[in-house]
């Protein structure tokens, strides 16, 4: 047994791979139940308007329509996902706050009838002045989106650590830069859908969700049901990226429609609805001031941000905190000030999108740092090396970082990319840039206040030992957590991956877990799974020992074989021992639970950004710019990650590729655009330009090794962190190519064209 591990560290095939590539996999919208109705939500055509009346009589008369509901038919209790700011109603009561706000819903026999019925609902509106710009929204005379937030300020943050003023005063060079992010949307391939079945006192909802737990909690709360009477489960999920973390009108309205009709109701969004429902990336306005010494060592940072939150809170309180909290992670400095206003506007609500609040500030900071390096004549890699965080350090906002191999990652990315040979030596139109990133491996605290553990798991070995099932509340939304957790279970049990089954993301069949967000599952769900697996192994070795004539401590189990450590020739099979266990003692079950130790400081907002472990990444990109047209070609990318122990290399590198793809889209191509009345003008995949496979560069995904003491087997995260370096990296590469900095995202062809043109005009002295 030469290798340390038998199952983890290998690119085993995904549990769901076959079904997905053959089309056999069923997503929520594919499911059919006897007597099932189809439902859809009617949304507001106005950005801000008072509802004067709603007449559903014509819609109700349409043959095939089984129910039409408005705010009068549903609980008026406000919900949300951030407990500090529950501000959404199932349907708007007095007024609508953005184009797409929820007004009524229909259930009918088929989709076609639903669309027809929606057109027959007559809503009388009195339009109100609307506000679309966060700075205008903060003015005293601006219309209020939500009455309870004066000057439309939904979240206000002022944090101050160390002595920023003093450090700035003593700095050799202080620089301020301003950057602007844009609204982007997650655009998962699978549109949201939910099937609600309200049967007597039991409500079952199949949903394309990232977290059955939060859905269960909020749905039970909304309808005054005990949590046990609400079952939320999922089938396959076609991506979430943060946009499917909070319950939507589909679950709430569907539940009511099902209760009224006594039939299962499938509710769905089409692509345009998805854009309007949104919960995508906030547009942030970011002013950064940094003081450095003459070697470029960062002494103090002041981040002064405003974000456009749209009409509701969604996860925005956390997004606002994350925006500033994580700026302190990759580089070491002692003095830090963070000011933030999250402002409501009459636009779709923004929430968490891969990297939650952090990617745009990271873009700003990486761009800003390159500006500083340029001013001081320091190489961009060098300035990062001088500031890179080290293991066993604490950030000014009191996050403890136990492992950090950013220095090694930077050096490796520099060497792999040929940075030294390329920087400053590339032909005209080509550029090279670097960016770093990092992220939490699970949030230190859940979204609502509770003492529930972060994760738990049960493993049951089949009576004859021929297979085992892992029960976990974790959620595979495409990232591969079912696969990774089965690998972890098999490793801990001494079992075989191929014989592992999994039941996950079902609040009734699987034990509690908060779900797929904040890159938490490999570490947190994994910790619970490891414990459950080890409990199985311990029980099994105890039962197996007498027959082998040794004590249990002298045994180990690996890949389904129980053997004497000192003499592996003496062994018996896992299956045989498992059967013996069942005959003598009943079901062979292992249990695991994971609590995060208490983390973070005591100041307001101290919880956001805490995590047992942080990932780090350094990324270099080479770009080719057609300076006459502004066309950006991302030519080649080198990404080096510190993400702790890798459980499944293929899945890990797939995350890096996918995260780069998303970050690249946000860097150059993607932006949700609105007309003057607040209606999205590109709510489709033709004009909301996600990059295509043809736009993807050659990407080298590489690793540096760390073993994180706070993660099972030393794991950390990769899913979200991998998006965080991309925008800054591409921004720096484009700047290197064209010689000027574009300070607003996306770095579109037209902006690059304009910037190149202006630079030429300036340098030719026209």
């Amino acid at each position: 047994m030469s290798q340390e591990y038998a199952v983890i560290g290998k690119s085993v095939p995904r549990k769901d791979g076959w079904d997905k590539v053959t089309g056999k996999a069923k997503y929520t919208g594919d499911l059919k139940f006897p007597n099932m109705l189809v439902g859809k939500i009617l949304t507001s055509p106005h950005a801000h308007a008072r509802i004067l009346s709603i007449d559903t009589s014509e819609a109700e008369k349409l043959p095939g329509v089984k129910a039409v509901i408005t705010h009068e038919d549903v609980p008026s209790l406000k919900y949300g996902i951030s407990p500090a700011r529950w501000d959404e109603n199932i349907f708007c009561i007095d007024k609508v706050r953005f184009v797409g706000d929820k007004v009524a819903a229909v259930a009918a026999l088929d989709e076609e009838t639903v669309y027809k019925a929606l057109k027959l609902i007559k809503v009388e509106y009195e339009t109100l002045p609307a506000v679309f710009d966060p700075f205008e929204a903060m003015r005293e005379d601006a219309p209020l989106v939500q009455e309870e937030y004066p000057r439309n300020i939904n979240t206000e943050i002022h944090q101050n650590f160390g002595d920023v003023d003093k450090a700035m005063a003593e700095a050799y060079y202080v620089r301020t830069d301003r950057f602007k992010g844009q609204r982007t949307y997650q655009s998962p391939i699978e549109p949201h859908s939910a099937i609600s079945i309200w049967d007597k006192d039991k409500l079952t909802i199949y949903s394309s969700t990232q977290s059955p737990h939060y859905f269960q909690y909020y749905i039970a709360r909304e309808f005054g049901l005990p949590m046990g009477n609400v079952r939320v489960l999922k089938t396959h999920i076609g991506g979430g990226f943060g946009g499917k973390l909070e319950p939507t009108g589909l679950e709430f309205a569907g539940a009511v429609l099902s209760k009224l009709t006594g039939r299962p109701v499938r509710m769905f969004y089409d692509r345009e609805d998805m854009f309007a429902h949104n919960r995508g990336r906030h547009a942030q306005f970011m002013e950064l001031t940094t003081g450095v010494d003459k070697d470029g060592k960062i002494l103090a940072v002041h981040a002064n941000f405003v974000m456009d939150g749209g009409a509701y809170t969604s996860l925005g309180v956390a997004s606002a905190y994350y925006a500033g909290a994580l700026l302190t992670i990759p580089y070491e400095f002692d003095n830090y000030k963070f000011d933030m206003y999250r402002v409501n506007t009459n636009l779709p609500a923004c929430g968490a999108q891969r990297g939650h609040g952090h990617p745009q500030p990271r873009f700003a900071f990486e761009s800003h740092l390159d500006n500083i390096a340029k001013e001081l004549g320091i190489d961009p890699v060098e300035i990062r090396l001088r500031n890179a965080r080290k293991s066993n350090t604490t950030t000014p906002n009191e996050f403890k970082v136990e492992t950090c191999a950013l220095t090694e990652a930077l050096e490796k990315a520099r060497d792999l990319s040929g940075w030294r040979e390329k920087k400053g030596k590339l032909p005209s139109g080509r550029g090279i840039g670097i960016g770093v990133g990092s992220f939490v491996s699970g949030a230190g605290y859940p979204i609502y206040r509770t003492d529930l553990p972060q994760a738990s798991a049960v493993i049951k070995v089949n009576e004859d030992g021929s297979e085992a099932t892992l029960y976990s509340g974790s959620v595979d939304i495409g990232q591969g957590s079912d696969t990774v957790l089965c690998q972890m279970a098999a490793e801990a049990m001494g079992y075989v991956y191929e014989k592992m089954r999994i039941v996950s993301a079902d609040t009734e069949l699987a034990p509690h877990d908060f779900g797929a967000y904040a890159s938490r599952q490999t570490l947190m769900s994994g910790a619970a799974v490891k414990q459950a697996g080890e409990e199985i192994k311990t029980q099994l070795l105890a039962i197996a020992a007498p027959a082998l004539g040794v004590r249990a401590e002298e045994l180990d189990c690996r890949e389904g074989i129980i053997f004497v450590k000192a003499n592996p020739e003496i062994n018996r099979t896992f299956g045989e021992a498992a059967r013996e266990f069942f005959v003598k003692k009943g079901p062979l079950v292992g249990r695991g639970v994971y609590h995060v130790p208490k983390l973070g400081g005591k100041f307001k907002g101290a919880a956001v950004g805490t995590s047992p472990a942080y990932s780090f990444a350094a990324q270099v990109a080479e770009v080719e710019i057609d300076e006459e047209t502004g066309e950006v070609k991302i030519a080649e990318v080198w990404d080096v990650h510190d993400c702790g122990k890798v459980i499944n290399p293929a899945l890990l590198h797939a995350q890096v590729h996918g995260a780069f793809y998303m970050g690249m889209g946000e860097s150059v191509w993607e932006q949700v655009l609105f007309d003057a009345k607040g209606k999205i003008i590109n709510a489709n995949l033709a004009e909301y330009r996600l990059p295509t496979a043809l736009d993807m560069p050659r990407l080298h995904s590489d690793l540096v090794d760390t073993v994180e003491p706070n993660g099972p087997w030393g794991v950390k995260e990769v899913g979200e962190g991998a998006t965080t370096p991309v925008m800054g990296c591409i921004s720096n590469a484009i700047t290197d190519a064209i010689g000027v900095r574009i300070d607003s995202l996306p770095l579109s062809y037209e902006k690059v064209w304009r910037a190149s043109k202006e630079r030429k005009r300036n340098t030719s002295g026209e």
Partner: protein, 289 residues
């Protein structure tokens, strides 16, 4: 998001198709690949009562060479039929390339030449190169047939000279003196992006001298347009890099693009300059590419 109800016909002769179109007039629409028509119907922009499909008319898909006439492309040829046609590859690869770089593969499998023309949108990719090559279109209607230059077909965005009872049956690229042609499109990503600007050229070179140049621009005006002033710059001139730039500048001046979410007027104009110059360069140097 749902197709409204309609009556559906799939005639198996052109005469029958014409008869149906004459009978139903403006209440009917021709269906070819449907990539544009069905999209509009699903979004409530068009509600024809009758659909007459051309999908029973296999002959309309052929691409042939007719002596004394030229290359004849059936209106129902798909973009991928055009891109893969051995005949076109040999004679006017520029047309194949134009078809190959538009839309995405799924659309190219069903979208047709006829639909691309009759749809009459400024960003359509096939009209510019066909106009540069002096192509004409044949229309069949209840009153008979007529042939007219493609250049004269368009009258505005979504409007053309075609009558409600007429069917576009073929596009004819005449035999010609030109020595090179090409089409360069500029899209905002590598696949599935409509052209922000497209520039097609056909040049007749004699040694270093350009005897004649035809320049046709896409998405640079409400209809595909000839850049005649730019053409005049080149006529009977010895080609130099400066002259090509001058032609580009001229084309940029004479076009009239609009601002849209894909690009500002100013950006488009400058793209016309660059693309025109690059297209000329390429066609002069490389032939029909």
């Amino acid at each position: 998001m749902y197709l409204p109800d309609f009556e559906y016909y799939q005639p198996n002769s052109l005469a029958e198709a014409c008869r149906l179109m004459a009978k139903f007039g403006p209440r009917a629409r021709i269906l070819a690949g449907g990539t544009d028509l069905l999209h509009k119907m699903k979004h409530g922009q068009l509600e024809p009562e009758v659909i007459v499909s051309l999908n029973g008319l296999e002959r309309l898909r052929e691409i042939t060479y007719q002596k004394g006439v030229g290359v004849v492309i059936g209106a129902r040829a798909t973009h991928n039929d055009i891109a893969g046609s051995a005949l076109l590859q040999e004679k006017y690869r520029s047309v194949c390339e134009a078809a190959h770089h538009m839309a995405n593969n799924q659309i190219r499998n069903v979208g047709t030449l006829g639909g691309n023309i009759v749809n009459a949108v400024p960003s359509a990719d096939l009209p510019p190169i066909l106009i540069a090559l002096g192509a004409s279109v044949k229309l069949a209607g209840s009153q008979g047939r007529r042939v007219l230059p493609l250049e004269e077909f368009f009258t505005g965005v979504h409007s053309s000279v075609i009558e409600p009872d007429e069917i576009l049956t073929e596009v004819i690229i005449p035999d010609q003196p030109s020595t090179g042609s090409t089409y360069i499109r500029f899209g905002l990503r590598r696949s599935g992006a409509l052209a922000v600007v497209g520039a097609a050229v056909a040049v007749t070179m004699e040694g270093e001298t350009c005897r004649e140049a035809r320049i046709a621009l896409g998405a640079a005006a409400p209809v595909p347009m000839r850049a005649r002033q730019a053409e005049a710059v080149l006529k009977n001139q010895v080609i130099t890099p400066d002259l090509l730039e001058e032609a580009g500048v001229c084309a940029a001046r004479e076009c009239s693009p609009r601002s849209s979410i894909r690009g500002s007027e100013e950006y488009r104009r400058d793209l016309v300059r660059v693309l025109t110059r690059r297209a000329l360069q390429k066609a002069i140097k490389e032939g029909h590419v």
